[in-house]
Structures are given as structure tokens and as C-alpha cells.
Symmetry: C2
Subunit: 394 residues, 2 copies
């Protein structure tokens, strides 16, 4: 008998579009859940976003791996009826509709719970479910602005705001939702009771940034002077590339100096501890950088490894797959999309024993599994044909 | 009877230091798990990192909220024996020891599983458990370099590498581990079987960056031309601050132009669709930015809201707590640390009904709960005093 994936046997109805919800359910699908992506006739708008090959968007394909797609028109009563039949046999519903919209569509918590009393229901919003912003659209970048990410990344003040160039608020929300839904399923397994969970990108993004990013905004009462600031280590140019070096412990700093023939620096009281090195970072690297620039990258990395100085060669997106450590751990695997051909994708995160996770499967085409899912609901081929004819399903 | 938190009744033994493991178990503690942080006599080195107030580090306090701390010397056999007694009554063990170290300390999977057959055991590493880098130290920044984050953030090539200025690889690993451990507990609830889970920062960080950040590295076969690139919207200076504006849909772009009196721009075929606007972004914002710079921030934000253009005022870390939406959703709450005084912290993420999550509790002082935890293990006061006298516990 084949080993059982962690979430095998759970069915998830995913009404979400964009990134946060789809990532959350992709994680559940990675771990064996049966995720049914319910799409409108227009489909998730992410299908056309970003790098596209033969009609397949890379970002959509990544966020919707290992799912099935059913295309339903929820503006027709027959479409809502099918959704209800689907939910009645499912464990989880995830959506990212703005407050009030799910209720109008017939997909509100109370209505769906009446069909499936132990449902785990997760409503993802950009801004939360109360307050002045709830009807405002939320893309990742505007949430980065509102939650402090853009200011923090730009070093404001006195810097100018900068975005993190990938959808960190969307994606931290996705991981957060995946965990919360899993925890709610666990609680349900013990109590028999479902839950309604609301998660906003503003909340998840803010909470993720907080521990280190907002440490200066944490303490509200006076006290002794603030201690050392966390170091944000710079990158360094080498003779043929770039290297990242991170020295936090005293021994690491001493080893770095010794390797570079800069022992005097290690003895300089100006650079005594991590806090001091952080305060005088400009002065420190002014001395060190010209020496680093004379070393070939790989040789420097090996020399620093030999004495325990944390470092890494900076890999470009186009060369990450060549990194020996990425290769040794099979972190990137090849899968084949029917339309786009071979794709390089991350292996499912988590090395499980006794049983490893299966490889991700390609994302579905719009409505690829409509017939298949409707047949599972007990509809006859004639009924499915009639629904298709009438435009309720595609 | 008070409502039950999602993870109430689960006990987690946390041997991890730094950020990834502590964040993972903080999430479990948020949701009601009893997390016992096992610290060496020196304590988690994060206790002294970053902004410190009256001996309390903000980042440590955030990453270790709602836990208990027991201080054990695992270099003594009596310390290992106590760890074993603790694990025998626990559900989860998390550590971030380098490969081989847990086994030498008496905390390897096989040894602990012999004491607790259904244990969920998670080993967090920087680089994985095989390959040339497994003994290398891993701080967040070096993993950002190795996993493509630094190159992507800097727009390489042709840009220079830049770090995301908060510990994204550590923290995405933390969220990933929290979800995996929860999923393993769920599988255990159904099968009675525990699991060993390995998670590396390199893998979790790479997988998180991938969907949008690595989309240009995804497709391996030829095909039609790449479609539009994902837009990375710029920030814009206003008369008195900064605003983020994100226009993806055609209607959003048209509404932006109308608000600013730039209708001609909306009709210009050069800016026809999202892909075109992305390719000609410099030219687009050259025209728009001077107009934006004449508007006061809040007035501009309201005007854009009125026509459905996604936007947000850029909040500095010091003002995020004043954002009306943050206030309306109680996203930031005050708790009191015995030493540091009042602290502003994020409310636990997830609005649950029927029962909300409890407020976070302050992080423990080193060994604050040593006596308490040992008494729960059945040790007498005399035995605890003897262990303390002998230096096994603090």
C-alpha cells in the first residue's frame, strides 16, 4: 500500500484568485489535499500575468500547481447550486472576495455551513472585514506601503520607500492561511467543529515584518539605552562576481580579518562587538571591500568556509539551479506542462520520512476538470452536457 | 467553559535558536500549544540582538512570545535525561542544530522516537541535510544570496545585488515549518503515526520566492514569445509624502488618468495594456509623477479610492499603528513585559469564530519556567534544588 500524504482525503474548494489564496491552497495540494479551483468563465486573471509561454503564465502555474479546475458561472442559480453540492462534500472553502460579496453570491459562511456543519471556511481580504478600507482593492504593493514594508525596505526615514520586488504580503498571507486552515482541520478532528477564519493581507504582512523589521517600534516605555541594532550585512564585489558575508559572532569577525590579512582590524576597539561594527559599518567595509575585490568569488567562499565565516556566492535567478547545494538536495525539479512544456519548479518543501511528498503536478487549464468533478457529484453525462449548453459550466 | 484554542493540549519542545524555529513555534504558541523553549545556560543568542530595552531584545521577544523557558545543560547526562523525560510527554520537537549535532546531544530522531513513538520531529537546517554546504553557517542574508533573493531584489542583471532588509528566508521557513508540523499532527491524529520532517532555509526561501520572483527561470522549452512581465509598481512622491499606486486592470489605469486630468494618456496606444505599460513604465511615470507631486497625500488617496484605483499611503514604521485600517482591526495590541514595560505587538493573525485567539504573552526570561516545568515532570523541590546546585539547570 502506498504511503499516505499528510493531507490526503481532505477536499478544498478554492474560490480565490490572485496570489494569497491560491498559494495557500497550493501548499495544501502539495501535501495531498484534493483542491478544486472554482473559476468564473473569465478565469483567474493571473492566467495572463507575467511571463507566459504558449498561453501558460509561470506565476499562475506555480500558484495553482496540483489542483483541479472547474469553471462555474456563479451568477446563475444553477451555478450556485453546483457550488453548494460541491461544498457539501468538502472540508474547506477558501475565498478572497471582498466583504459582503460571498454572501451575495450564495457563498457566505452561514449559508455554506448549513450545508456542511463542520466546514473550515477562510475569508481572505486585503484590508480586513471592518474599517474604512474594506472596499478598497489590495494589490501586494499597496499593502507593502500600508504595512510598513516599503518604508522599511527603503530605510525611511531618511530613505525613500522601496518595494520588495516579489509579492511578499500576498505570499506571507498564503503561508499563514495554509497553516491556519490546517490547524482548524486539526481542531475539527478532535472536536468535530468547524471554524470561520478571516485573514487580511494587512495583518499577515504586518505580523511577518514585525519581529525584526519593526523592532524599533516595539517598546513604548522608557528604559536604558537601546542596545545594538541588527546588522543588515552588505554585499561585496569580488574579482568576478558578488559575495554575501555575515559576521555576527566575534569569532566570525576575527576569522574574516585573519583570512584577508587584516588582523589589525580585529584588534581595533572601534569594531569590538556586533553593535560597534554595525554603528561603524561604513568605516569597516571601506577597509575590507578593496581586499575582497581582489579575490575570485569561489576561492574566497571556500577560504571563508574553511574558517567558519558565514558567506554565500550571490546567485542570479538564471543560475540558482546550478548551485551545488540546490543540486545536492534536488530542490528544483522538472515537471511537464501539456501546453508550456518542461518547467523547472521547486520540489515540495519538507523532507518527510517515512514518506516523501510527491512531485507537483502542472496547474489545470481553465475548466479542465469540470466534467470530472461534476461526474463525481453524481451528474450524468446528459446533465453535464445540458449545463454546458446553457452556459452554467465551461 | 472557555472556548478551546486550536492547538490547545499539544506540547512542543523547542530546541531552536535564532529566527526560523522560534517563529515556527511562536505561531504554534499563538494558537494555544504549550511551547517549552529549552535553552542552554548561555541562552538563545537572539536575546542580545537588535533593539534592547532593559535587557529585553525586541526581536527575541517577538519570536518567543507566549512560550515557557527551561534552562538545561545538555552537555551533562542529567540534562539529557531531563530532556528525554520532557520529550516523552510531548507531541513535537523542533530544533535547528546542524546535521549530526542532535544525534551527538542525545536528541536525534531515532533516540527521541524510542521515548515517544508518535513524535512529530522537525529538523530545521540552513542548507539541507546533504551536499557540500551542510556544515556551513547560515544567516538570513547568506541564504538570500544563495537562493536568488538578493539578485532578484537588486534587479540583477544588470543591477547589483540587494538584500531584503528583514529576515525573509528565516521567517518564510518559520511559517513553512509551522504549517508542516501542524499538518503532521493532523496526519497523526488520523493514523496514530508521527513523522520526521526536515526543512532547509534554502528550500523554503527558494520556494517562496519562486512563483513570481523566478518566473523568468521557469520555462525550459521554446514556444511563443513571453507575454507581459509582472509590473513592479513604483512609489510616488506627493506634495507632503509618498503614495503607492498599482494599476493592473485597464479600468484602473483609465480611472487614474481621469483623476489626474491625463485622459490623453489613457488613449495612447503605447500604454494599451498592462504589458505595454510595464515595458514603457519610465515614459509613463515621467508624465504622471509631476502631477502626483502636486497633490497632498491623503487627498490624493481619497480621490483614487473614489474611482477604484488601488493605492495606499506609505506608512513609516513609526506611524503604522496610526493607520485607520490598522486601528479599526486592532492589528496592533499592547502587552506588558515585566522588564521592558509596555510593548506594541501584532495581534495573533487570524480572526477566528466562534472563539478569537488570546493576546500574546511576553517572552520568557532565560530559565523562567525551569522549576515549573521540572515540577510538572514530577521532580520534587529537593531534586530541583540539587540539579540547580550541580549546574544542570538554571
Amino acid at each position: 500500500m502506498p504511503p499516505t500524504a499528510l493531507l490526503e482525503g481532505y477536499r478544498v474548494v478554492d474560490l480565490s484568485v490572485a496570489a494569497a489564496g491560491p498559494l495557500a491552497t497550493a501548499v495544501l495540494a502539495d501535501q495531498g489535499a484534493d483542491v478544486i479551483k472554482v473559476e468564473s468563465p473569465a478565469g483567474d486573471f493571473m492566467r495572463t500575468i507575467g511571463t507566459v509561454r504558449n498561453g501558460v503564465s509561470a506565476v499562475f502555474a506555480s500558484l495553482n500547481r496540483s489542483k483541479r479546475s472547474i469553471c462555474l458561472d456563479l451568477k446563475r442559480p444553477e451555478g450556485v447550486d453546483l457550488l453548494h453540492r460541491l461544498v457539501a462534500g468538502s472540508d474547506v472553502v477558501v475565498h478572497n472576495l471582498r466583504p459582503g460579496v460571498a454572501e451575495r453570491l450564495g457563498a457566505g459562511y452561514d449559508e455554506l455551513r448549513s450545508l456542511r456543519p463542520d466546514l473550515v471556511y477562510c475569508a481572505i481580504t486585503g484590508w480586513g472585514e471592518q474599517g474604512p478600507s474594506i472596499q478598497r482593492p489590495a494589490y501586494d504593493s499597496v499593502v507593502q506601503a500600508a504595512s510598513g514594508w516599503a518604508a522599511h525596505q527603503g530605510g525611511m526615514p531618511p530613505g525613500e520607500p522601496q518595494f520588495v520586488r516579489n509579492a511578499v504580503c500576498d505570499k506571507t498571507t498564503g503561508l499563514t492561511v495554509a497553516q491556519l486552515v490546517t490547524a482548524a482541520l486539526l481542531a475539527r478532528e478532535r472536536t468535530g467543529e468547524g471554524r470561520r477564519i478571516g485573514v487580511s493581507m494587512l495583518h499577515a504582512g504586518l505580523a511577518f515584518l514585525w519581529p525584526d523589521g519593526m523592532q524599533t517600534a516595539t517598546f513604548l516605555d522608557g528604559g536604558d539605552d537601546d542596545g545594538p541594532r541588527a546588522t543588515q550585512p552588505p554585499v561585496h564585489r569580488t574579482a568576478d562576481g558578488w559575495i554575501s558575508i555575515s559576521v555576527i559572532l566575534a569569532a566570525e569577525f576575527r576569522a574574516l580579518c585573519a583570512t584577508l590579512g587584516l588582523d589589525a582590524l580585529a584588534d581595533d576597539p572601534v569594531f569590538l562587538d556586533n553593535g560597534a561594527r554595525s554603528r561603524h559599518a561604513a568605516r569597516l567595509w571601506e577597509t575590507v571591500d578593496p581586499v575582497l575585490a581582489t579575490w575570485p568569488t569561489e576561492q574566497l567562499s571556500r577560504a571563508l568556509d574553511a574558517v567558519g565565516v558565514p558567506n554565500a556566492v550571490v546567485r542570479a535567478p538564471s543560475t540558482v539551479h546550478d548551485d551545488p547545494q540546490v543540486v545536492a538536495n534536488d530542490l528544483l525539479v522538472e515537471i511537464r506542462d501539456p501546453a508550456a512544456g518542461r518547467m523547472r519548479v521547486p520540489r515540495v518543501v519538507g523532507d518527510l520520512s517515512p514518506e516523501p511528498f510527491a512531485l507537483p503536478r502542472p496547474a489545470p487549464a481553465l475548466g479542465e476538470h469540470t466534467d470530472n468533478v461534476l461526474a463525481e457529484l453524481g451528474l450524468s453525462m446528459a446533465e453535464i452536457a445540458a449545463l454546458r449548453e446553457g452556459g452554467t459550466v465551461r
